[in-house]
């Protein structure tokens, strides 16, 4: 596997998705970096342990973590960074294979692919949520201080 090429391509792809989703212009490079880190961690984990569900979880976790840090840095909503970064992890080929096998009447194989695609989507969701919870715990003290400053009650 060609690491620099994959890094460059995933950077380019995530940046291009930033343009499609109309991310603010000065964050486009950061969007690319988020996508690149997610994809590289996914690939590294996949090559090391050969489990696409766990690898996707690790990738989504990395995406959400980096997106959170960038969101704090740029003072922008986290969604600006995370959306483009998630796209490379979406199980497009598995869903495609499931659809193809359904059309060709291979329902057993289609079920296997569909279940795999479902598990991978679930892993993306869990990765996002875990990173969110972690970051909330880290930033809770900071957030409380800010809320006290602007006179907002904790509810």
């Amino acid at each position: 596997m060609n690491w620099p090429l994959e890094a460059f391509l995933s950077f380019l792809a995530a940046g291009a998705f930033g343009v499609v989703f109309n991310a603010p212009r000065r964050t486009l490079i950061s969007c690319g970096l988020v996508g690149m880190s997610g994809w590289l961690i996914y690939r590294a984990y996949f090559l090391a342990f050969d489990d696409s569900v766990q690898a996707t979880f690790a990738g989504a976790f990395a995406v959400a973590l980096v997106a959170h840090i960038l969101a704090k840095k740029f003072k922008m909503p986290m969604i600006v960074f995370s959306v483009a970064g998630i796209i490379p992890l979406v199980p497009g080929s598995k869903a495609y294979n499931a659809m193809r096998n359904i059309v060709e009447n291979n329902y057993l194989e289609a079920m296997a692919f569909a279940a795999d695609a479902l598990m991978v989507s679930g892993a993306i969701a869990m990765g996002l949520v875990f990173a969110e919870v972690l970051m909330q715990m880290v930033f809770k003290r900071q957030a409380k201080r800010i809320q006290k400053k602007i006179g907002m009650t904790q509810n």
């Binding site: 090429l5 994959e6 391509l9 995933s10 380019l12 792809a13 291009a16 998705f17 930033g18 343009v19 499609v20 989703f21 109309n22 991310a23 603010p24 212009r25 964050t27 994809w39 003072k75 922008m76 909503p77 969604i79 600006v80 995370s82 959306v83 483009a84 998630i86 796209i87 490379p88 979406v90 497009g92 080929s93 869903a95 495609y96 294979n97 659809m99 193809r100 359904i102 059309v103 060709e104 989507s121 993306i124 969701a125 996002l128 949520v129 969110e132 602007i150 006179g151 907002m152 009650t153």
Partner: protein, 251 residues
């Protein structure tokens, strides 16, 4: 004196609802919209506010004396720049850098301006993303120009049909159909090598990424109504794409 206070409160309500409307139309998460509106209200000394947000409408109830207001949200698209801009304005309002009047004018300017990248650039970006995904998913370099062309064209077709008909699922179905048909043609003409990777790469720009992430985050934050409806939208989009591809494959 009371009259002035009353108009000021009306202005505040308009401002909050406009902020919520812009954010929902550009694809922000539900809990962020709610958080933004409540924070803005708190900065204007309006405690004890309630808002209920769904992808198709926002209700905001300021307090006992003032009437509850409602705005309808008709069309949603993905425009992260507007989300970031409204967020910046609300931060400034909460920090006291902007007055309510200034913030409202700023919101109106954001609402009226069009911040989208030009369509040619978006099509180029979609084409580039398709090409990148083709290689990332293990396709050969010989297929690269086809994925580039097909991905860009499909994105353009979807945008055009969306503009004409306003039916999102139909536009995505036709886009996927065009991808499938042109990828098959390229293979039958003996130019391309691998049908599967060309199709998967070209389909990637249509994937409902924003909806998937938003649906999950809304569900986790306890906004079940918007989480489920966004999830349904994502599922229908995926289904439309899958049906378009499947129709071609079945021949």
């Amino acid at each position: 004196m009371t009259q002035i206070v009353e108009t000021r409160r009306e202005l505040a309500l308009d401002c909050f609802l406009l902020a919520g409307k812009i954010m929902m139309e550009s694809g922000a998460e539900t809990y962020r919209i709610e958080d933004t509106m409540i924070r803005m209200a708190a900065s204007q000394k309006m405690m004890d506010c309630h808002c209920f947000i769904t992808p198709t409408g926002i209700m905001f109830s300021p307090s006992d004396e003032l009437a509850t207001r409602f705005v309808r949200i008709n069309n949603r698209r993905t425009d992260l720049e507007q989300v970031a801009l409204v967020n910046a304005v609300s931060r400034k309002l909460v920090a006291g850098e902007l007055t309510l009047q200034q913030a409202y004018e700023e919101m109106q300017r954001i609402d009226q301006n069009d911040y989208m990248f030009p369509l040619q650039l978006q099509v180029l970006a979609a084409a580039m993303a398709s090409g990148c995904f083709l290689i990332l998913l293990g396709g050969g370099w010989a297929d690269l120009p086809f994925a580039f062309l097909i991905g860009g064209t499909a994105f353009y077709i979807v945008e055009m049909i969306l503009e004409k008909t306003r039916v999102k699922f139909f536009a995505e179905f036709i886009g996927a159909l065009a991808i499938g048909a042109s990828a098959s043609l390229v293979i039958y003409a003996g130019l391309g090598q691998d049908l599967d990777t060309i199709m998967i790469g070209s389909v990637m720009p249509l994937v409902p990424g924003l909806l998937i992430t938003n649906a999950v985050r809304d569900l986790m934050a306890g906004h079940f109504v918007s989480g489920l409806s966004k999830g349904a939208e994502a599922f229908l989009t995926a289904f439309a794409i899958g049906a378009g591809i499947a129709l071609v494959l079945s021949f």
